[in-house]
């Protein structure tokens, strides 16, 4: 029973990881590509880590929770790096399918960067 649960979690996790990278490979512009890795891959690795917690807690010696640390770390850092990447792309004026925010704001952003 537990083995089935672990297997299902592993497959779900791996599938989401794959879908995240698929989004990275096939979507049209940088900003849409950003969505795949930040959401799907993070959740996929999270599911894999939960499967690993269950696996080691049931087969090893006692409860093993330190995989949770990696999960929390990923869930905190993935949006931060996504935000930084999007900011960088806006700064460099990377081509986009959607109309990018007006130039005035981008200029204000650039000025704020210099003033910091």
């Amino acid at each position: 029973m537990l083995e089935i649960a672990i297997s299902v979690l592993i497959i779900i996790g791996a599938a989401f990881t794959f879908i995240g990278s698929l989004g990275l490979a096939r979507l049209g512009d940088f900003y849409t590509r950003l969505h795949g890795p930040t959401k799907a891959t993070t959740l996929g690795v999270g599911a894999l880590l939960i499967a690993s917690v269950i696996h080691f807690s049931t087969t090893g010696q006692g409860v093993s929770l330190h995989e949770v640390l990696v999960t929390i770390f990923l869930f905190i850092t993935a949006p931060v790096s996504a935000h930084l990447l999007a900011k960088t792309a806006l700064h460099l004026r990377v081509g986009s399918l959607a109309p990018t925010p007006p130039r005035a704001e981008a200029a204000a952003a650039a000025k704020a960067q210099r003033d910091d």
């Binding site: 990881t17 090893g60 850092t77």
Partner: protein
């Protein structure tokens, strides 16, 4: 049951690695490449976790944690470099 699931999972994660690698090579812009690197290290964490389950060793999590930290710092450093042309403020 578990071994079949692990084989499927390994295949999927390796395919994900190849797709990320492709994006890393193709680009076309710098942020794309950084994003591909970011995805590569998260995929590597997935691969390490799967290896840990397969071999029944908890040692791989130390490596996974280190890769998670180093990868995040690397992404931030590269973004900062592109944003300001400088890393240390």
């Amino acid at each position: 049951m578990l071994s079949i699931a692990l084989i499927i999972a390994f295949t999927l994660v390796c395919a994900a690695l190849i797709l990320s690698l492709w994006r890393l090579l193709v680009g076309p812009d710098h942020p794309d490449r950084i994003l591909a690197l970011d995805t590569l290290y998260v995929n590597t964490i997935a691969l390490l976790v799967l290896l840990g389950i397969l071999l029944g060793s908890a040692l791989y999590f130390e490596a996974a944690l280190l890769i998670a930290m180093m990868g995040f710092v690397g992404t931030v450093a590269l973004c900062k470099y592109l944003l300001r042309g400088d890393i240390i403020e």
